[in-house]
């Protein structure tokens, strides 16, 4: 799997989901992203991600429902004297919140193949030559991330046994300071090791250059087709936008825009065959 092809597909998903206000197309993109990721990474590995996405989408929905007191269909009302949350609660605000939640969810799932399906060196190899050193530095620092969590557990346990007790935010300095210092020291040691292996010498090469294969090109083509078709439909006035306010209406659908979204299901087949 080529990281550039994955990037093209992710970008197409993000483009449509952020370009349109129509929740039907957003939902289609979300479905394409979930189906593709399930095909490539498997549902088990997605479980934590999906839980997170549902929670974030629910939070986005709730936030709009509570804060946007607009719309004609009032479901219930809290006294306006209550600061921040007082006022009418409307069906339109709920629908707009749901649409926002789907947007956030689709964006997260569309970007997830980079963490769930690609190794850090795959991503680095896909970067243009000018960014290869930055990429190597990022790949190296990502390797340190798990050690920070382990360090926090170890430091808090060691300090607790030495008599430390959490008593307000300032007391946490005894844990946070060693964790931060240890992380900085780890980074410096890693940088020293990279320097000792010639990092920063100039342009880099790669052990296994990752060329775009036939199925990668197909994915790039499907992603491009999705964007072009959607843009064309929008320019022609077929891909109608959707506004929940002042009164809720059903989103309009057209065949070309649906077809554009369906192109984004292309990885379901290619990523499953790679497995």
């Amino acid at each position: 799997m080529n990281a550039r092809a994955v990037a093209a597909w992710s970008a197409a998903c993000l483009f449509i989901v952020l370009f349109t206000t129509n929740p039907a197309y957003k939902a289609l993109v979300l479905a394409a992203a979930i189906a593709s990721l399930a095909a490539g990474a498997g549902l088990n590995r997605m479980r934590a991600l999906l839980t997170g996405v549902v929670l974030i989408a629910a939070f986005a929905t709730l936030l709009n429902f509570i804060s946007a007191h607009l719309g004609a269909t009032v479901l219930f009302e809290l006294p306006a004297s209550i600061p921040a949350i007082g006022g009418p609660y409307t069906l339109e605000a709920l629908a707009a919140g749901l649409s926002g939640g789907v947007t956030v969810g689709a964006a997260i799932v569309a970007a997830a193949p980079f963490s769930l399906m690609l190794a850090s060196h795959d991503v680095m190899d896909a970067l243009p030559a000018a960014l290869s050193r930055t990429g190597a530095a990022i790949a190296a620092s990502l390797n340190l991330v798990p050690s920070v969590g382990a360090s926090f557990v170890q430091v808090s346990e060691a300090q607790r046994l030495r008599g430390w007790r959490p008593r307000g935010p300032r007391s946490w300095a005894e844990v946070i300071v060693p964790v931060v210092l240890s992380s900085v020291e780890s980074s410096i040691q890693l940088a020293e090791s990279m320097e000792a292996r010639g990092f920063g010498s100039g342009p880099r090469t790669a052990l296994k250059p990752s060329p775009l294969r036939r199925y990668d090109w197909l994915l790039v083509a499907a992603s491009a087709a999705a964007v072009i078709t959607f843009l064309t439909a929008h320019a022609a006035g077929w891909a109608a936008d959707w506004y929940p306010y002042p009164a809720l209406s059903a989103p309009q659908l057209d065949v070309a825009s649906i077809a554009a979204c369906l192109f984004l299901f292309a990885p379901v087949r290619t990523w499953r065959s790679l497995e």
Binding site: H121, Q189, E195, T205
Partner: protein, 447 residues
């Protein structure tokens, strides 16, 4: 012919008044060169001169000259010297850039824009030279410490350097991992390469060494290391009442059982050593006794009193501006009136009492962490790999300190791979392995 030549070199770290290296002159030739000396004496600094990390990475002030493979170290950047000198660091986890073994070994070659078509063969050659061909394609995270360190060695060898420098490469490893690395180094030398190694476990290397330097207080002398007097066995003359006990305890993490239905007991004025392979459950057992980990089932009891716990990573403790302040913090919390200088003197740290603990060398840090947890009169002392990175003198000081605490009535539990420490101190040895704990008859059990 000399591969490296250092002439009248002195070096000061940034802001330091005293030099870390003083008027060093030496030649390094083909074969194995062993560098030894006490912790904080300047071994790591000397090794870093050989690939230019000192002064290019660390900054500071340098006087005199150094040349490696005809390259002037002071004027040649480290990234250029990397082609002539391979370097392996102490901690295998902190020198890994990629998450797959062959990519990791290729990192240096990628940096110097080595032709991709020839790279795979070069990686294969380096993996073979380090004895880890079978690990190609494996995720680095799944490797043991010894395997990781040999991958680091392969990464250094991939550049085909004339000189390979190893800075205490086994200090973080168990005996099996250390053997793997030292055997690989020995093979390299037999293949005709030059290697410089700083190491505390010298017994396996000295027979193969062609040269030896001792580094102490920044002075370097061409002499063979003094192994020091053998540790004197110090056992308990009296055994007190039960200090801690575990009955039918099962424990683990994330649903994984590490220790299964174990029973164990320790007494006041007794040293119990925990032995066994890495991952066998020694640290888990220590954490259970300390009360840092709750058992899934079973019962743990301990006598009331202060617990002194040294974790595997000594830097987990150190955060005060001076070493003296670290010790004072523990004493204040324990409500003890002992002056901090007492334990600092006992561990040979009085001279660095006013220094920032994280600026100390690896071995000194380990002693600093011991000083931070052991002052006063703890009733239960739990030490996880206390001799990691320690030289012979520091180990002798630790043995004396632990003996004093035990004679004062403390119950002591050591998790250690160090057979010398075990032989010197342990009243009893518990083998912790494969989820079980068994009392060992012998003190010289394999770690």
């Amino acid at each position: 012919m000399a591969i490296a030549r250092i002439s009248h070199l002195s070096y000061w770290y940034p802001g330091a008044e005293e030099p870390a290296l003083r008027d060093v002159s030496l030649l390094i030739e083909a074969g194995l060169t062993v560098v030894s000396g006490p912790s904080g004496g300047g071994k790591s600094t000397l090794l870093r001169v050989l690939n230019g990390l000192v002064p290019h990475f660390h900054g500071g002030r340098i006087a005199g000259g150094a040349e490696v493979e005809g390259l002037d170290v002071v004027s040649t950047p480290t990234r250029r010297l990397a082609r002539a000198v391979g370097f392996v660091f102490q901690d295998p986890e902190l020198q890994t850039v990629y998450d797959v073994v062959d990519r990791e070994v290729a990192f240096g070659l990628e940096n110097i824009a080595f032709p991709p078509r020839e790279m795979a063969a070069r990686v294969e050659e380096a993996l073979h030279a380090a004895g880890v061909d079978h690990l190609a394609g494996r995720s680095v995270r799944t490797l043991s410490g010894g395997e990781r360190q040999r991958v680091a060695l392969a990464s250094a060898l991939a550049m085909r350097p004339r000189l390979v420098v190893l800075d205490e490469p086994t200090s973080q490893l168990d005996p099996e991992g250390a053997s793997m690395v030292l055997d690989a180094v020995r093979r390299l030398v037999e293949q005709g390469r030059a290697a410089v190694i700083a190491e505390h476990r010298l017994e396996r290397l000295l027979a193969h060494a062609s040269t030896s330097f001792v580094v102490e207080h920044g002075w370097v002398s061409a002499s063979w290391p003094d192994p020091g007097p053998p540790a004197i066995r110090s056992v308990s003359s009296r055994q007190g009442p039960v200090a801690w006990s575990l009955a039918g305890v099962t424990a683990g993490f994330g649903g994984r059982v590490v220790l299964d239905s174990i029973d164990a007991v320790g007494h006041q004025a007794e040293v119990v050593a925990l032995s066994g392979p890495n991952g066998g459950g020694k640290t888990t057992l220590l954490r259970l006794i300390a009360g840092a980990l709750s058992p899934m089932t079973g019962k743990i009891e301990r006598r009331p009193g202060r617990i002194a716990y040294l974790p595997q990573n000594p830097t987990a403790l150190l955060h005060r501006p001076t070493l003296r302040a670290e010790v004072s913090l523990t004493l204040e919390r324990a409500g003890e009136s002992e002056p901090p200088e007492a334990i600092l003197s006992e561990l040979g740290l009085l001279a660095v009492a006013g220094r920032y603990p994280r600026d100390l060398s690896c071995g000194e840090r380990q002693r600093a962490a011991l000083a931070a947890v052991l002052p006063g009169r703890p009733s239960l002392v739990l030490l996880d790999e206390p001799t990691r990175g320690m030289d012979a003198a520091a180990r002798t000081a630790l043995i004396a300190l632990v003996s004093r605490l035990r004679d004062g009535g403390s119950a002591i539990v050591l998790a250690t791979h160090d057979s010398e420490l075990r032989s010197a101190l342990a009243d009893r040895v518990l083998m912790v392995s494969a989820g079980g704990v068994v009392e060992s008859e012998s003190h010289s059990v394999p770690a």
